[in-house]
């Protein structure tokens, strides 16, 4: 399926970086609060999620016919549809489009799928100047770093780091005021937009009935990328196609609330083909690149298919305790957090076989997913698939499963016998309540405790419950 990726080592480095830990904590509180408030004030929220799930499942079930209809409609509008089996083919198509259009500069609206196919290096190798224009994407492009969050790619950077970066790379006076920094980016990028030949975006949805792209954003970078340059190219995963406006509005109802806690994103754009006769702005030529890159494989597996419902809202990241500690870069993939754990091993060549083993199984991601993907269930399925592969559990392979087979076997023996388990637990509780000694002695447990805190073995709940129950009933107690 895929290679392990060294998640544990990267996560350990992230945990040791106090600045990053503070940034991640602040981001989690911010996004969790916004999402929770949005859904608390949304009485039909549960039904709206059910509907969004059903809309996506129904579309996935008729994907081939939807894609054919989409292709015909885009062509009828004067656009061109391209099909890319993998990342390399998608990049080659983009390079061809740029060459044919005699383009020398490209501006990019924020897009995950172009990160997935590593488009920027491919275009730059072909001699194009490529500018990211979403503020966060611009920041990390200047810094030469990959994104660390689906909707807030520079969430790992603080204002001082951004201020120093702009000072160094743009030659502007140092400031760490977010308003001033945003103004600098606006001025610099405004010129790029107006002079760019090519505008490149992804899409949140594509509507088959009318050949329409649906694009969501807050800043206006996507509107600029599709309004100013003479050629617009949209790169879209094949799972993004829906029949029409009814399905689109069902998705819109939950998407912005889940991503940023707003009822609608600042800009939601419906774009259908190139500009028409007598219109004075908008691209004159439109290309749609439909990308598979592993998606048809995911569709073929009934256990995994639901992953294709994903709207890329980022809510699962914001509620994931592992993401909050490890940060997005630990995934070493454009897709991080719970959905990254599912997508990284399945898309393209596949990477990150160790990612599913970093999940605590807490289930918070499934609680907030707007299309009700059973992320813990999918992650468990990926663990089973990884364990069935040859070479699994080989300690020579970095990033393998954290428990050695011996330790797992020992635990299975203990857990299989309640008496034996109680005895061992009592012994450990008395001698070594923090499991410090045990983890030093057992290599399996040592690997386990490197990235996890072992539970403190104190009085078991079954022993303390009677006293606690009395206390809760207001009878007092001594527990």
């Amino acid at each position: 399926m895929s290679k392990p990726s060294g998640f544990a080592a990267r996560a350990a480095r992230a945990c040791a970086d106090p600045q990053l830990q503070a940034n991640l904590r602040a981001a989690a509180l911010h996004f969790q609060g916004n999402q929770a408030k949005a859904f608390a004030a949304f009485p039909g929220g549960a039904a709206a999620r059910d509907l969004a799930r059903d809309v996506k499942d129904a579309a996935l079930a008729e994907l081939p016919s939807l894609l054919r209809r989409l292709e015909a409609q885009v062509a009828a509008l004067g656009g061109t549809v391209h099909w890319a089996a993998d990342a390399a083919e998608a990049c080659a198509i983009l390079v061809d489009i740029a060459t044919e259009a005699e383009a020398s500069t490209a501006v990019k609206g924020k897009s995950m799928v172009t990160e997935e196919i590593a488009l920027n290096p491919a275009l730059e190798a072909a001699g194009l100047e490529v500018y990211e224009t979403d503020l966060a994407e611009y920041i990390i492009q200047l810094a030469g770093e990959p994104p660390s969050h689906i909707i807030a790619p520079a969430v790992h950077k603080n204002r001082r780091q951004v201020g120093e970066l702009f000072h160094k790379r743009l030659g502007v006076e140092y400031t760490e005021d977010p308003t001033e920094l945003t103004k600098i980016a606006r001025t610099t990028l405004r010129r790029r937009f107006l002079r760019a030949d090519l505008g490149i975006t992804g899409a949140n949805m594509v509507l088959a009935d009318t050949g329409t792209l649906v694009l969501l954003e807050s800043e206006g970078n996507i509107r600029m990328s599709t309004t100013a340059p003479r050629v617009h190219v949209a790169v879209v995963g094949i799972e993004k196609v829906l029949p029409g406006p009814a399905e689109a509005s069902a998705v819109l109802r939950v998407l912005a609330r889940s991503a940023i806690g707003m009822k609608m994103s600042t800009y939601t754009s419906f774009l259908a083909g190139p500009r028409r006769d007598h219109e004075r702005d908008g691209a004159r030529a439109f290309h749609l690149v439909l990308l598979d890159n592993g998606r048809s494989r995911i569709l073929a597996d009934p256990e995994l298919r639901q992953v294709l419902r994903c709207l890329r809202c980022g809510a699962c990241l914001n509620f994931c305790p592992v993401y909050e500690k490890a940060g997005g870069h630990a995934w070493d993939n454009p897709y991080c957090g719970p959905i990254g754990t599912c997508l990284a091993p399945l898309l393209g060549q596949g990477s990150g076989r160790d990612l599913p083993f970093a999940c605590t199984g807490c289930g918070a991601c499934a609680e907030v997913c707007p299309v009700r993907i059973d992320l813990p269930g999918v992650i468990a399925a990926l663990r089973r698939k990884a364990a069935a592969e040859p070479g699994f559990g080989d300690p020579a392979q970095p990033g393998g499963p954290p428990l050695s087979a011996a330790a797992a076997g020992m635990f299975a023996r203990l857990a299989g016998s309640p008496a034996l388990f109680r005895g061992a637990a009592t012994l450990a509780r008395t001698l070594d309540p923090g499991l410090g000694l045990v983890s030093r002695l057992s290599p399996g447990l040592r690997a386990w405790t490197r990235t996890r805190k072992p539970p403190r073995l104190k009085t078991p709940f079954s022993t303390s419950w009677p006293a606690l129950a009395r206390q809760l009933k207001g009878e007092g107690g001594d527990a």
């Binding site: 911010h30 039909g44 509907l51 129904a58 994907l63 081939p64 894609l67 099909w83 890319a84 089996a85 083919e89 224009t133 503020l135 966060a136 920041i139 520079a154 951004v162 977010p178 308003t179 945003t182 606006r186 990028l189 405004r190 937009f193 329409t212 807050s218 800043e219 206006g220 509107r223 600029m224 599709t226 309004t227 100013a228 094949i238 029409g244 406006p245 009814a246 689109a248 509005s249 819109l252 109802r253 009822k263 609608m264 800009y267 939601t268 754009s269 419906f270 774009l271 259908a272 083909g273 500009r275 028409r276 219109e279 004075r280 702005d281 908008g282 598979d292 048809s296 569709l299 073929a300």
Partner: protein, 225 residues
């Protein structure tokens, strides 16, 4: 290369779906009945999104709102839609009286964007408004450019008697269907605008005015009152 991939992808998808049980059909909610304008509720949504809202009880009040906006932002140039409501309200005359230069309506496409980028104010009508979210919907047509609501730092959007009031986000769907032309084509661009351009990309601090307008001013005009 692409033809081969097209066939390969479609065949892989068909094979992937073969024998799968049909999923539940989505149960869409019944369409809501048309909304009567509840201006205070809409004002709450729009200001909650970071916009400004004013109700004009006559064309004269609408012109007054424009004049005070021009003064507050020291607007020197403006770009406005060629739209019957804007003509009826006499907004071009208001701009001229205030000494504001409006972009000529016959400006060539080649120079249009650069000129619009130099404007301090963009004026559009609204084709529809979503009351649930305070969202303004603008449709691109000849003379009604995309850039007018995007490039200038201030966007004035007018809710007029041509504007359809949609109660909720689901009601956008039938409205979108109605925008298709005789050949079944939707407009080239429909933009739903919910507040001024914004970002929270630096330390999650909300900053207004990234690539689009810093200020979104909405004036609802009750022309018959």
């Amino acid at each position: 290369m692409s033809d081969e991939s097209r066939q390969g992808i479609l065949e892989a998808l068909e094979a992937a779906l073969a024998g799968s049980p049909a999923p539940a059909a989505p149960a869409f909610p019944a369409p809501a009945s048309p909304a009567a304008p509840d201006w205070p509720a809409l004002a709450r949504e729009i200001t909650g999104n970071g916009g400004r809202f004013a109700l004009a009880r006559s064309a004269a009040e609408a012109r007054g709102a424009l004049a005070s906006l021009v003064k507050a932002f020291a607007v020197q140039r403006a770009v406005l839609w060629d739209h019957p409501a804007l003509v009826r309200l006499g907004l071009a005359e208001t701009l001229a009286a205030a000494g504001v230069e409006a972009l000529p309506p016959d400006l060539s496409p080649a120079g249009f964007l650069e000129a619009a980028a130099e404007c301090g104010l963009g004026i559009t009508a609204c084709d529809a408004v979503i009351l649930e979210s305070g969202t303004l919907v603008v449709v691109a047509r000849p003379g009604q450019e995309r850039a007018t609501s995007l490039l200038p730092p201030v966007h004035l959007a007018l809710i007029t008697r041509e504007t359809e009031l949609l109660p909720g986000i689901p009601d956008l769907a039938p409205w979108l269907e109605r925008q298709r032309d005789a050949r079944g084509r939707p407009p080239s661009a429909i933009h739903c605008i919910t507040g001024p351009s914004s970002t929270a990309d630096i330390e999650l601090v909300k900053v207004r005015g990234v690539h689009g307008p810093t200020t979104l001013a909405v004036v609802a005009v009750e022309e018959n009152a």
